[in-house]
């Protein structure tokens, strides 16, 4: 583009992000080699998995944890820390 054609974009031309939490639409699920699987029967709703998820990929609902597989990178901290085996792991693609 010729210099004189460069538009001035005003506030839109300033490098700021105006949409809070916009990364939630980014799919990081493709990073996963294993995925957490939740068993409601074994869950005591202790909130450990919810607290320790580094990507806030576990939402807390009145029924307990809800895994957001778009955000889950498969670190398996929730599986490791679950005291009642309500979280187990499964290989992706199985």
């Amino acid at each position: 583009m010729r210099e004189e054609e460069l538009p001035y974009k005003g506030i839109e031309g300033i490098p700021i992000i105006k949409e809070p939490g916009s990364a939630s639409k980014v799919n990081r699920g493709s990073w996963r080699l294993v995925r957490p699987v939740y068993d409601r029967e074994k869950c005591t709703k202790c909130k450990i998995c919810f607290t320790y998820c580094p990507d806030a990929a576990i939402n807390w609902t009145p029924e307990g944890p809800e895994i957001n597989l778009k955000s889950c990178k498969g670190c398996m901290i929730c599986v490791e820390e679950c005291p009642t085996d309500a979280m187990t792991e499964e290989k992706e693609g199985t």
């Binding site: 490098p15 992000i17 949409e19 809070p20 939490g21 916009s22 990364a23 939630s24 639409k25 980014v26 799919n27 990081r28 990073w31 996963r32 202790c46 909130k47 450990i48 919810f50 607290t51 320790y52 998820c53 580094p54 990507d55 806030a56 990929a57 807390w60 957001n68 778009k70 955000s71 889950c72 990178k73 498969g74 670190c75 398996m76 901290i77 599986v79 490791e80 820390e81």
Partner: protein, 301 residues
Amino acid sequence: MQEFKNLKDLPEQDYFTGGSSACAGCGPSMELKLALKALGPDTLVVNASGCMTLLPLYPNTPLKVSWIHNAIENAASTAAGARHGLDMLGEKDMNVVVFAGDGATYDIGFASLSAAATKNERIIYICYNNQSYGNTGFQWSTATPYGCETKTTPRGKDNPIGTTDVHKDMMKIMGAHRVYAATASLAYPVDFLNKLVRAKERGGFSYIEILGTCNTGWNFDPRLTVKVSRLAVQCGMWPLYEIDKGLLTLNKDFQELKPIDEFVKIQGRYRALPQEGVEKLQALINEHWAQLKEYNGQRYV
């Protein structure tokens, strides 16, 4: 604001979403997520260049609070300017919170941190200490512990130890600034969030240093992030304590520390550390722990 009693008592609302480019199992990401629960939506996070700088990547951000990244060595000064700007514009109830790594805190940003603490600026400074320059691929900082191998302190024929320096005692230094200084661990989230509540209530400058457990740099399975963090506390590698106006309080006491060997053997960064190195590391930890026990409840700095 009331202190939290247990895990179930922590706020359910998160101001942090998924979708960042942080590594799977990232400790500092979890720590920021947890911190924002206590800090709430009216928070400005001032970030120093490091891993966390890549949480937002235009046009996406996992943050639901405001965030500014300036450079690596100036987070405390940037925060001081933001604090006064907000105060002058009548936004006194916004929290200004630094989130900076150990390199940005112990090393290159130390002057700006020390000045902000001396001036008792109303800032909560959180150092997520991953004991290295993590984002550049794990190089030595003055927070790197003895015996740890980094890319700039590699083990070799002439140096089997790796890092031969003993890390800076930053807590003592910050305690000597007569501000609120505390250590924290992601494995003890209630303790961490209560320290943030205390810092917020107290006003003035607070320094909270949380072990920035880094599975990528420390070289362990990401699923162990919480376990490694807990072991660090139990082994005395990362004792939980606070210094307020020079007085020391040990927040998590143990009859006996677990041997450092348990912490060391599950991380690649200590792989091949010879026995003499492990023993020296253990001696350094014992000395520090004995000091904390001795001064618990007393003037420490």
